[in-house]
């Protein structure tokens, strides 16, 4: 063993980075959902600010569909999309800060951001579904499940909760800007799906296309049920 010659990294360049390969780390469904959510949230904000409340409601329903798909894809999708693979406990986060984390996909701290964003958006959609506008012209599809006063309160919270969503989005973008400065273009990876994978790291196990199709069908079916007014189509 000792007699074998060993290559020694020079300067900052580690051997493993030099040999890392571009591989698929985000599958297509995950990337589509990401950019779809970004666009729909922007559109939801724009439409309600410009008095297109009907578009705003449909945009929210589209977000609901995307969230349901993402939830199922997080259970049955590609390895980097699965919650069980990227959500880690406090010890995993501590190890990450000590530089002991290696892998592809979300880092343990990035995972917290993902979960917080998805949860905040889900809460926002849920509030919107039971809200009504203050003029009695528009109602979320599930508003009749609760009282008129409760729907008004839901709308008030829906307006306030947007600030929470906005805060998380700003944090998310700030983190990406930080990584960019450090030389890691995360945005490009989220567009092409290709990221650097170090040798010895298990590559992404891609999900099955027919599983994605089943997740999609389920997402549309559940959204359709919500649009109909839920339980047996109404209160």
């Amino acid at each position: 063993m000792q007699s074998l010659s060993r290559q020694v990294p020079v300067g900052d360049a580690s051997l493993s980075t030099a040999q890392s390969l571009k591989q698929l780390v985000w599958d297509l469904p995950t990337r589509i959902i990401h950019w779809l959510l970004a666009s729909l949230i922007l559109f939801s904000w724009w439409s309600v600010k410009n008095h297109h409340t009907d578009w705003h409601i449909w945009s929210g329903i589209a977000i609901l569909t995307a969230l349901i798909f993402r939830a199922f894809w997080g259970l049955f999708g590609s390895s980097t999309a699965r919650f069980a693979n990227f959500v880690r406990g406090p010890r995993g986060i501590r190890n990450y800060f000590r530089g002991q984390w290696k892998g592809i996909g979300h880092t343990p701290v990035g995972a917290l951001s993902v979960i917080a964003l998805l949860a905040a958006i889900a809460i926002q959609v849920g509030l919107g579904l039971v809200s009504q506008d203050e003029d009695g012209i528009y109602m979320g599809p599930l508003a009749r499940l609760i009282s008129s006063d409760a729907s008004d309160t839901a709308r008030d919270i829906h307006e306030l909760w947007f600030n929470v969503v906005l805060f998380l989005i700003i944090l998310h973008i700030a983190a990406i800007a930080y990584y960019r400065v450090s030389g890691r273009p995360l945005t490009k990876t989220m567009i092409t799906g290709q990221g650097a994978v170090e040798p010895g790291i298990e590559p992404m196990r891609p999900g099955k296309w027919w599983v994605a199709l089943l997740c999609l069908i389920t997402a549309f079916a559940l959204s359709r049920w919500v649009v109909a007014g839920a339980p047996p189509f109404g209160p």
Partner: protein, 188 residues
């Protein structure tokens, strides 16, 4: 497969384009002017008169602003109760008719809710200063609203649920036409 994801989202957003028709501008609506003492002899008789925008101040202004706020809130509440009935499979038309009459009555009172001197510079209100810069347009929209409430009240006295829904949709558009242009987010 992925194409179909994008495609179906396009469909779902296309479904969004199912808003109601824009209501036509109303004309020849008699508006009762309360709250003002001066006779409006020169004003045209068949619309919300210029006198509706005569200047008031002090306690009178405060009182009009309060009445406007309460009145608009009451209209909103009545509208919501109608909306909730009409969204259901078996609307209670008694509830709808009671609310429709209330809205029609309040809409007539609205002619006295927009005197000059009741804008955001005087107190907290969602009424934009644009109201008093475009009184002609505003008066036309207010008259259209009053026409829509009367039409809806009349349709609601019948039992044709589809006609009631259509008429309610037109009333909503009349509310929205004014609110989109002349109401700020500084209300509640």
């Amino acid at each position: 497969m992925i194409r179909s994801v994008a495609f179906m989202f396009v469909i779902s957003s296309a479904l969004a384009a199912c808003g109601g028709p824009e209501t036509s501008q109303a004309n020849n609506v008699q508006a009762n002017l309360s709250n003002t003492a001066s006779p409006a002899a020169t004003a045209p008789p068949s619309t919300v008169t210029a006198d509706a925008f005569s200047e008031i101040s002090g306690e009178q202004a405060k009182s009009v602003m309060h009445e406007r706020h309460e009145g608009m809130e009451a209209i909103g509440k009545a509208n919501k109760s109608i909306k909730r009935e009409l969204e259901g499979s078996a609307p209670d038309l008694v509830t709808v008719r009671t609310a429709a009459t209330k809205i029609a009555d309040l809409s007539q009172k609205a002619s006295g809710w927009f005197h000059a001197g009741t804008g955001p510079d005087v107190g907290k209100t969602g009424a934009k200063p644009e109201i008093w810069r475009n009184t002609q347009d505003f008066a036309a929209k207010l008259a259209a609203f009053q026409k829509a409430t009367a039409a809806f009240n009349s349709t609601a006295s019948g039992s044709d649920v589809n006609a009631i829904k259509a008429s309610f949709g037109e009333l909503g558009q009349a509310c929205k036409a004014c609110h989109d242009k002349y109401r700020s987010e500084m209300h509640h």
